[in-house]
Every structure is written in structure tokens, then in C-alpha cells.
Symmetry: C2
Subunit: 345 residues, 2 copies
């Protein structure tokens, strides 16, 4: 049997936060990064858990993110747009700074937008979606990435894997939340196939000549494909427009030019929309939250799974029993805590 260590969520948070502090991040950055990474580990989202610490630190070491950034909130009266200038730091503390103002604006105006500019982004979007749904609001969140996906009918990487996430608040149970890449597969999945020496399913990627391929190496040298053909490609393009260009931040091709690599966390902006179901439904028959439950029951009642249920099940276990890490994972945490940025190649 492999040796494992079980930590409480709080204990894991302390360890991760300490690593970031020792690597030179200020309190605001270190705390927010630890929260989102521990949330991933807690929900058994291993691809967004402690595995991400190294990538974040690599980006710090490369000088592409400011570890001392203090995000700044910018609000204009009468506007439903709340802006946070991340000042070149990570997106997460900028989001934490802006979310209450976003919620206040959405309650007053019915809907509102939080724009995060000049941030480095490496986390899943669902923690942010959940922070909005916790405030009784629906959320729609999107951001670009770097150019690794060809538009439908195209031959070269141009779009990002551009995640698209949505949430609806539920009282008494975890929110309805989805959060997915607009590429067929995540880039990490292609990397996993490569390491395992396995072919890719058809429809995931094209090679450098724009021809369909099932070879991971050829795919990594070529481009991934958007999900759902021209429809997913159109949604991904919409994300470049709304969450890149409209907010005055970089598009996926511009991010790749800026970084010159996909091994660092991308720098761009992020768009978070919040909707007040109470404001929208005012004066109409029926309680929107109760009616949503009827819809969810009808979906689950025919054997279809609501999104995020696996995450919530893992969260229940972690909250109750703690998070279990392997000996290798513990060793890596020790190493990162001891060496900080010096642990990064």
C-alpha cells in the first residue's frame, strides 16, 4: 500500500499559503492563490489542485506576473460595470476584491459585469462562479487563453481553449455549475495521451498542415479543435471578443506572442457577468429558484447528470475527512516550502 497523508482543508491551506509567501508573493496574492488551489484539491479536481502551484511559481520566476501586486477597484457611478485592475498580479485576488461590488451592482441594476484587467490566470472558473451564486446571483464567466485551437474550418492555432462557465444558485444544495473548455479536450489531456503513448480520439486535433490527426505529438505541433464544430468555434470567438477585445485586454494570439510559450500561466483579462433572478423575475408569477428545482429534478429524474456533481461529492468527503495526498505530493510540498522559487527549474 502506498503511504498517504490526510490533512484538514485548513491545514492544506496553511501549507500552500506558506509556499507562496516563501516564494515572494504578498499576503493578498498568496491567500487568494491558496484558496483556489485548495478548492481544486478539495473537490478532487487534481488538474487544478496543488499540481498548479509549480506553474504559478514558474510564471513568477519568469517575471511574467507581479507577486507583489495590489489590485485596485475602479467603480463609476451609474455604470453596471465594476473594474478591477489586477496590476499585473494573479486574477484571483482581483476577483476577491471585486466580487462584492459586482453583487451590489447586480442587485441594484439587475445585471452587472466585473472586468478584471491585466491579470495572470491559471485557475478553473468554477470557484468564481460559486462565489457569485453564494450571493444569490446567476453567473456567466469567460476568459481567453493562448492560441492553441484552430477555428472551425481553419488550419492553424488562433483561439484559446477559452473556458465558459455558468452558475445558478440553489438553496439547500450546491449550485448548478458548469465550467468547460471550448476546445474538444483540454491541452493537458493531449499531454497525458502523449505520456501514456496513446492515440487521441478522432476529432480532437489537426497537425501542423491542418490535417486531422490522432497522434499526440502531431497535435501538440498543430492545433486543437473547438468542441461542437462551427458552433463551439463561434462561442470561442465570442469569448475572444467579449472577454479579450471588449474589455481592452489581450486575445489568445496576443497572449501567446507576449509569453512566447504555453508553459507559463497566460496573462489576459476576465469577464464575469452576474444576474439577479429576483430583479428579473419581479412582478412575474412563480419563484425562479423553486421553478429551477423543477427543471433540475426533471433532468436528474431521467438519469442525466447535473454538472459538477462529482466535485460536490468529493468536497463532502474532503470537508468531513480531510484531503489525502500521496507521499510524492507531500514531498513536493516540503520541497516547495523549503526552496520557494529555487525549487523551480
Amino acid at each position: 500500500m502506498t503511504q498517504t497523508t490526510t490533512l484538514t482543508i485548513e491545514a492544506l491551506h496553511q501549507r500552500v499559503e506558506t509556499i507562496f509567501r516563501k516564494s515572494g508573493l504578498n499576503d493578498i496574492q498568496a491567500g487568494a492563490l491558496a484558496r483556489v488551489i485548495v478548492a481544486g484539491e478539495r473537490d478532487a479536481c487534481k488538474s487544478h489542485g496543488i499540481y498548479r502551484i509549480e506553474g504559478a511559481l514558474r510564471t513568477v520566476k519568469a517575471g511574467k506576473v507581479n507577486p507583489l501586486a495590489e489590485p485596485e477597484l475602479v467603480q463609476q457611478p451609474a455604470s453596471a460595470i465594476v473594474k478591477v485592475d489586477a496590476k499585473g498580479g494573479f486574477a484571483n485576488p482581483a476577483f476577491e476584491l471585486g466580487v462584492s461590488a459586482l453583487a451590489e451592482r447586480a442587485r441594484t441594476c439587475g445585471l452587472a459585469a466585473l472586468v478584471i484587467n491585466d491579470c495572470t490566470h491559471f485557475s478553473a472558473l468554477w470557484p468564481e462562479v460559486e462565489a457569485v451564486t453564494e450571493r444569490g446571483l446567476a453567473a456567466l464567466v469567460m476568459c481567453p487563453s493562448y492560441a492553441t485551437v484552430a477555428p472551425s474550418g481553419g488550419t492553424k492555432p488562433l483561439l484559446g481553449t477559452n473556458p465558459f462557465a455558468f452558475g445558478w444558485p440553489r438553496s439547500g444544495s450546491s449550485p448548478y455549475v458548469f465550467d468547460f473548455a471550448t476546445s474538444v479536450a483540454a491541452r493537458g489531456e493531449i499531454e497525458l495521451h502523449r505520456r501514456a503513448g496513446k492515440s487521441l480520439p478522432e476529432g480532437w486535433a489537426i497537425d501542423a498542415d491542418g490535417k486531422p490527426t490522432t497522434e499526440p505529438e502531431a497535435a501538440l505541433a498543430g492545433a486543437m479543435l473547438p468542441f461542437g464544430g462551427h458552433k463551439g468555434s463561434a462561442i470561442s470567438t465570442m469569448i475572444e471578443l467579449l472577454a479579450g477585445i471588449m474589455i481592452g485586454d489581450m486575445t489568445s494570439p496576443e497572449v501567446l506572442d507576449y509569453l512566447g510559450t504555453t508553459t507559463l500561466a497566460p496573462r489576459h483579462g476576465e469577464l464575469i457577468l452576474a444576474f439577479s433572478p429576483q430583479a428579473f423575475a419581479a412582478g412575474r408569477d412563480g419563484d425562479p429558484f423553486a421553478r429551477a428545482e423543477t427543471l433540475f429534478e426533471a433532468i436528474a429524474g431521467q438519469g442525466a447528470r447535473l454538472p459538477s456533481q462529482r466535485r460536490y461529492a468529493a468536497r463532502a468527503v474532503s470537508t468531513d475527512k480531510g484531503v489525502t495526498l500521496t507521499a510524492d505530493e507531500m514531498k513536493q510540498l516540503d520541497r516547495l516550502e523549503e526552496l520557494g522559487l529555487d525549487a523551480i527549474a
Copy 2:
């Protein structure tokens, strides 16, 4: 050679509007319906052109839409939500009534929503998207339909074909617009396969037992599938939540219960979001409209097609040379004009 007749867009509009007036629609309803139907015919979108007149009239004759409705605008100060009560009439005149207020709110607040309640909906969403982009704003439009699509992993019709449409304004050329069903295929395409005695492509539908089928009859008795697997299913569910439940209007299963058939135009609500790129980009480097052109050039430059280009090409021809109808189509227009609702079985 088949005999055809070519009419100017204006002449076709007059004919269609006259048909609706003779069928008992008031000026507001008849004018708006004629505009959207002629736009479809003009753009060679035959499925949303004069073919739709009969379905609209059938819904009038069935008493499921109010041909004399006078939509009413409801605005609240400080809110970014503009509501139009369609009063049981068609969605199109309600949209026309609300779009200027939506644009004004979006310019002031940065983003705004137009909610249309209690309307009958039978048209494509792109005419509304274009009406928003003409005002220099980006648009995101969605509405439910009736329950004909199974959620991913499910076995029974529950979701609608729920269209999702987006637009970005371009100066000097037609806007970037997409407008698609969140089902793999439109229900009409399955009907066309049935009439032609052809099998369906795999992945379009399941039969009444929830098993995959390529038989059109079995598909029509079963359920269509969402595009892009669980991702499209999630987006379709989001549309039920935002553009059905949140706005206090019917979901797709409720619509089907209300109508009891899919042969009439569905009654529900509609959600139109408008974004001001100028407000969002204020204070940031670069002009968002110029930057978007760079993105569009990169897409088209690698041989990928921007959406709606076929429509715009057809529009250019129609605007220049008029709209050409077959002898059968002309005969049908004559018949509808002469008989009004009596032409409807």
C-alpha cells in the same frame, strides 16, 4: 425552365404585410412580422422566410397568439433591465418597441438586458442581433423553445432547441453574427430527412426508449440530442434558466404542455443582452472595433469562414436584383392574401 417572379424587397414586404393585415393582425403585429419574414427571404434563409407565414397564421387561428396585441414598455429607473410585455402577441413587435431603450441603457450602464415576456416566437434571432449591432453594441440573445431535446445522458425530450445568438458590430461591413440551435440539428432537418426517406447522421437523435437512432420517424417520436454532448446540453439548460425561469416565463417543457403540439409557434419569453464595447474598453489601449477586425482577418486568413457570410452574400444580391420566388410560392402568396385565415387548414 420553371417560371419565377422577381420582386423588390419593398414589394415583397407589402405583400406579406397585406397578408397579415387581411388575417386580422393589427398594424404593429403585421409590420413587424413582415419585416422579419422578408429579412429571412432576402437572406436566402428559406426556413425563416415566407414559408413561416403559414405557421404564424396557424398559431393565430388556434387562438394561441393575440393578433391585436399592443406591446408595452416597462422601465425602472436605475435598472439595466428593460422589459416589454408582449401582451400575448408576437415577439417581433415587442422587440422593436424595446430595442432603443435597451441601447440607451447599455450605453449608460455599459450593459443592459431586454426581457420580452408573454410572446409567441417563430423567427430567427439574427434580425434582433443585427438591430443591436446596428446601434454599435454587442448582443447576446437566447430563448427556449419546446421540449424536443434530451439532456446529455438522458432519455426523454425536456430541453428546447434553444437558439443562442451573438453579434459584434463592424463598421464598413456586415456584423459578426452567429445564431444556432443548441440541438445538433434543427427539428425541420429531421422532418426533411423523413420526407426524403433518408437516414439521419449518427448522433442526431434517440428513439422513444432513449436508444440512439438514425430513423427520422423514431427520432421524431423520441428526442433530438444537444450539440457538443454535455457541453451543449449545459448551455441549453442555461438558456432554460436565464431566458425561461429567470425572466418569469415558460420553460420548454412548460411550453409543450401549454401548446400540446409542436406545429404551432411556441409561447415563451426572450432575453436580449447588449454590451457597449466603448464603455467596457474605456481607459484601455486600442480601439476594440479595430482590434476585432484583426481577429476576423486572422480567422478568414486561414480559410475558416466567418458565420453569416452566406446570408450577407444573398442579401447583397436581393438588395440589388430583388427576391426571386417560384410560381408555387407566388400562388401561395396569392392564396394567403385572398383567403387570410381561411387558407389555413
